[in-house]
């Protein structure tokens, strides 16, 4: 819990004249489970997009494991050990459940293009390894019985879980979950919370979570950052956040605070 894993300093991005996010400072330590909350349009997903390289920040820097990662391409950020899920599910619809996970497992095997075309022994070994590994992830998420199903045919809740399984298969140190419980019923949300707690222990992960479901965030996060209008307005333990007047104001409007 002591090593600094991700250090975000003065992060900001501007689209034309719009400052979508500005002056965001964040420190994530190894093994933490952190929440990132805020009203709609506060810049949570934009922050995720900067952390994962989808957007290049206009100001500030991101340091991951003592290495500057701001400005890297998304696939390089992933290879460094940050992987993510998407708010609006982005599975590979026409690939099977197993293949979805295998795509994220890409760098696990090393067989090259020539070996694949000529079907050399390294191809069979590599593909077998990828399949075994991917199946192990699917088992954890209870999706192994659907491995040959196309991803688009899965029910909504399972698609959400498959996204997390796929993100895990990319072998991250830091996992970014963008509203993993969106659209789930309380029962499913509860199961998801347990699952998140489990994979965090099992894979020794640090997790940053965007979520609207306050019960989920307050229930499992150790620390919470609150964004509003592109700026951090508070950070602290769930209790501190719950009683912070600025946060209540941002969520419920000024009148309530009086």
């Amino acid at each position: 819990m002591t090593n600094l894993l991700l250090n975000v300093e003065q992060l900001g991005i501007q689209f034309g004249g719009l400052k979508a996010v500005q002056n965001v400072d964040m420190q994530l330590f190894e093994g933490e489970l952190i929440g990132l909350i805020g009203p709609n349009g506060a810049g949570k997903t934009t922050t995720f997009n900067m952390l994962t390289g989808v957007y290049a920040p206009t100001t500030g820097s991101i340091t991951f494991q003592n290495e500057k990662i701001s400005g890297l391409d998304p696939y390089k950020v992933t290879q460094k050990g940050i992987s993510r899920t998407f708010q609006n599910i982005r599975l590979f619809k026409e690939l099977t459940v197993l293949e979805n996970v295998e795509v994220a497992n890409h760098s696990l095997a090393t067989h090259g293009i020539i070996a694949s075309i000529l079907r050399l022994p390294s191809f069979f070994k590599g593909e077998q390894k990828m399949e075994d590994e991917s199946l192990a992830f699917l088992k954890i998420f209870g999706l192994d019985t659907y491995k040959d199903e196309f991803a688009k045919n899965l029910p909504y809740g399972m698609q959400r879980r498959l996204e997390i399984a796929r993100a895990l298969a990319a072998n991250p140190r830091l996992l970014l979950l963008d509203e993993p419980a969106a659209g789930m019923n309380p029962q499913e949300t509860h199961e998801l919370m347990e699952l998140i707690a489990f994979i965090r222990k099992e894979f020794n992960l640090t997790i940053l979570l965007i979520e609207h479901d306050m019960n989920l965030v307050m229930g499992i996060c150790e620390r919470i950052y609150v964004l509003d209008h592109g700026q951090l307005i508070a950070d602290g333990t769930p209790e501190e956040i719950r009683s912070n007047p600025k946060v209540i104001e941002a969520y419920l409007g000024e009148e309530v605070v009086e």
């Binding site: 696939y75 593909e127 990828m130």
Partner: protein, 312 residues
């Protein structure tokens, strides 16, 4: 184990088809009219399958495929006619040079998406054609005479090798990366796939086989000229892929076979040829908007193994 049995069954079918046609040709049962059609069919299948890798698998809408075919046709003609080297050397050289042309064109243009990429590739194919028109060494606009060296054996085995290479590539981690790019480029990127690299690889492999097809085509025709490789040729190839079903290898093969037969027979009715050809296309698109086979492979319609089989 069951999968490898299926693979050997395919090999056996391929050898039987080859042997039967070869025997019929040498015994004169198939005349030069039909043997010409069969060889052109092989060329069209190679073109269709190589473009299938770029459009159907990787999802990059490239419509300049005839440009690479032109590169292959002219390079191979130079190798055999000007340098007097054997035909097999010419085929390999055609593929390799077309591959480099693919890299040259692919690296800058594959940053573009959708319509922009289509326009850029179309433009590059036209540039290749115009460059050839202006090179006197290969006869310029008047064209170039090539000796007929293509045989059924060359055409058929080039086709089989193309299909095996592209099918094997598709069913590997590299092929999955390409499909992931087609399905969702942002998600593929976020999963650690170097999307630019895989787009360029698909483009280069596609260009290589288009070059091979060009070599076989030019040595079948006696005579090549730049107009044979204009954008109408590119659209012909595009039609095979779309008509067969985007993402289906066997679909593009099937479409190439059917359309080659249709256009060969229609050559006897030059006045109505394009009308009937267009009608066939419109009818197929009306009744099978996803193409003849959709995204499925022909084997999925039979009971060969389970769907989405992993190893060949």
């Amino acid at each position: 184990m069951k999968k490898s049995k299926v693979f050997w069954a395919y090999v056996a079918i391929a050898i039987i088809v080859y042997a039967v046609v070869q025997f019929s040709m040498s015994s004169g049962m198939i005349g030069s009219y039909y043997s010409n059609m069969l060889i052109i069919m092989c060329v069209n299948i190679i073109l269709a399958v190589s473009l299938h890798l770029i459009i159907g698998i990787t999802g990059q809408f490239s419509i300049g495929h005839a440009g690479f075919m032109a590169v292959g046709a002219y390079i191979s003609a130079i190798v055999t006619m000007k340098l007097d080297l054997p035909f097999i050397v010419a085929i390999v050289a055609a593929g390799v040079v077309a591959l480099f042309a693919g890299l040259l064109i692919g690296i800058p243009t594959l940053r573009l998406r959708g319509d922009y990429l289509a326009i850029a590739t179309l433009g590059f194919a036209e540039i290749i054609r115009i460059v050839i028109v202006n090179i006197d060494y290969v006869g310029g606009a008047a064209g170039m005479t090539v000796s007929r060296q293509t045989t059924w054996t060359y055409a058929f085995f080039a086709m089989v090798i193309t299909i095996i290479v592209i099918a094997n590539y598709t069913k590997s981690r590299h092929g999955r990366a390409c499909i992931a790019i087609r399905e969702d480029e942002i998600a593929a990127d976020a999963m650690g796939i170097n999307t630019t690299y895989y787009k360029v690889v698909a483009f280069a492999i596609g260009a290589f086989f288009a070059g091979v097809a060009g070599a076989i085509f030019s040595h079948q025709l006696f005579f090549i000229q730049p107009t044979s490789f204009g954008f109408l040729k590119s659209f012909d190839i595009l039609i095979y892929v779309v008509l067969g079903g985007l993402g289906s290898l066997s679909g593009s093969v099937l479409a190439a076979v059917l359309l080659t037969i249709v256009s060969t027979y229609l050559a006897e009715f030059p006045e109505t040829r394009m009308i009937i050809y267009s009608l066939v296309l419109i009818l197929v698109m009306l009744y099978r908007p996803t193409g003849l086979l959709g995204t499925k492979e022909i084997t999925q319609f039979f009971k060969f193994g389970k769907k989405g089989g992993k190893n060949v």
